[in-house]
Amino acid sequence: MSAAEMIGIFIETLIVVSILMLHVSYVVYFERKVIGHMQCRMGPMRVGWHGLLQPIADAIKLFFKEDIIPSQADKPIFYVAPLIGVLAALGSVAVIPMWEGFSIANLNIGILYILALSSVGSYAVILGGWASNSKYSFLGGLRSAAQVISYEIAMGLSLVGVMLMSGSANLSDIVHAQAGHWFIFTQPVAFFVFVIAIFAETNRVPFDMPEAETELVAGYATEYSGIRFGLFFMAEYAGMFVMSAFAVTCFLGGWSGPAFLPGFVWFILKVYAFIFLYFWIRATLPRYRYDQLMGLGWKLFIPLALANVVFTALMKIL
């Protein structure tokens, strides 16, 4: 690889990451507006026209707040934990194909790459919770550890169905394989399991047990303040973006759509529709109880995903 190519990739990455960061800050605004209107409120209104500058004000506030570290905290791990989360979320963006022929890295093992990074990302929550040396944070971290073990298996198994249908783990090939019909129609069970697994993966309602404001103060993030808290927040929303984009690529046909709009626009529209689903569910459902969540993962979703794999493989042979 020549130096010019490497600089090209570097610039590409820089552009994609900055655009993503912009989306991440405004998706928080989008969430507050959507949930506000669903609850017959207005949402943020004060900063700028209809609160449009709210994310910028929030970011500035987080940057300049005092960074408090608990006295008995495990300092190196306390520092590193939020960074792991952000890096894992941003790293996953590299393999997602955004329009025909464009992804920063067109890996043959795209699906496995995203699964690997998402499992590394969960360490942010576990370690942040442990290093804070606080009951609430610790409980949040433990819950996250248990949640990851029960959900990642089902998530991986549901994607096996997609890999069987497309015959590849390359995300661009998966989009091409959906030219006839999207996998949401041929793999509805896998889609169902996958969507619920990514809700658990990104710690969103109804599976936001590690955070659980009403019982654990703020869970793993209780002791974090200032920009470190901001990084956790960023990791959560970037993770939502990545997982939505992943779901769109694997089940909703990625960038494909009627020709009157370019592929990139279709991709963004689908991703935002998926993110809207996140907010919609947050405004609708109460939180799951902890033991119910574990039971659901082990006793329902893993068998369901396994049955789906067997069924798909049989269909493929016949």
Binding site: D74, I77, S119, W130, G141, L142
Partner: protein
Amino acid sequence: MTLQQIYFGYFATMMTIISLLVVSRKNPVHSVLWMLVLFVHMAGLYLFLNAEFLAAVQIIVYAGAIMVLFLFVIMLLNLRKEEKEFRLQKQWPVSAVTAVLFLVVLVSILGKITVLPELGEYSIDMINAQGSLMTIGNVLYTKYLLPFEIASVLLLVAIVGAVVLAKKRIE
């Protein structure tokens, strides 16, 4: 030195240093974290050997599942208390003798390793053309089907054993 040698040298030294850190940390959670760093380095070494699938599986299985389980158990047992106790078990002389013998074996075979054995049919070009996922799948489910299935039966036995041990006895 070529770029490849620097790359390999970095990973080899780092992996040795990190392994030492894993066994010498007083806090078990720190040991687990260094082990995590070690696994990431191993994945890097696999990537260097053009085995991208192995690298991804290394992270997913070891970093994603097994180490989380370790962390979970260590946190649940709250091992912080045991930091101050004598860290070697009482059978340490036996372990020391075994370790020295193992070192002797390692040193004695050092000269006898063929550094570059003759290439088989699975050359890097062939694997890259097919994709490493495809190649491993083909080999695993045709040529090595029996050992593969035996390994999975072995794992099943372990799972059943764990369930039997953990289950409450019904009087």
